[in-house]
Symmetry: C2
Subunit: 144 residues, 2 copies
């Protein structure tokens, strides 16, 4: 078990490590988005274990992929409840992967339109013409 060597981290260290604010970390805890309870020092300060940090890293990835907090919370709850609900965890993740694929497709479409417009402008600037071709609202092929 090289996994849980007694290292712990302050909230500030964790914030730096996972790219969230300390405010957000406390918010996540309040909202029950974490799997285990975060331990405290005698004086009440949070001590994050490596496993907590790992979970937070997963959280940030899922959030980046557009998973809403409600669903992240659902997932956290399932994990907290322990073995027996793997099918639900799986379907939750699978649904999210589907959404990610859709997002990627949408972004690629948007990227094409942007690129097309960039090309139009670049060509315009190269040609330095003012022949009415440059109304960016013209997206249909019909040109005078």
């Amino acid at each position: 078990m090289a996994d849980d060597d007694g290292r712990t981290f302050t909230i500030g260290e964790v914030a730096g490590a996972v790219g969230m604010s300390v405010h957000a970390l406390r918010f996540y805890e309040r909202e029950q988005l974490l799997v285990g309870p975060i331990e405290r020092t005698a004086s009440g300060r949070r001590r994050y274990r490596p496993v907590d940090v790992d979970w937070l890293r997963v959280c940030t990835r899922l959030r980046e992929s557009g998973m809403p907090l409600t669903e992240l919370k659902r997932f956290a709850t399932l994990v907290r409840e322990g073995p027996g609900n793997e099918i639900e965890r799986l379907s939750l993740l699978d649904a999210q992967r589907e959404r990610v694929d859709q997002q990627i497709r949408a972004l690629e479409q948007a990227r094409e339109i942007i690129t097309w417009k960039v090309d139009v402008y670049e060509q315009h600037l190269r040609n330095d013409e003012a022949i009415g071709l440059w109304d960016p609202t013209l997206t249909t092929g019909a040109q005078p």
Copy 2:
């Protein structure tokens, strides 16, 4: 000029065509996110021209790609002001394309993590084992 044939559309038709609500369309107009003024009938109802619809389609793409409304407004303003600011329009679009690329990369990373977790769960369900491998907080390679 096969471009501006007198067809016009009601706000409801446009909403259906571009996938926005009528509320959103009025909101966009109020917020100066449109390029031209939308014409009105004698009784004050909006009449959208094809060019307006085209612009709205561009808007939805840019929004889908994560462009904030403030920037969309800036772009609309530049277009409204007419020729002469193409360089700024270009840099705005180019910056957005850069952000889209970053988003795609982030989504692909998230997708990998999700897929990996899905695989883990699927394998688990196939094997029907409970040997402590299934703590989803374990993201580091170390396994017993």
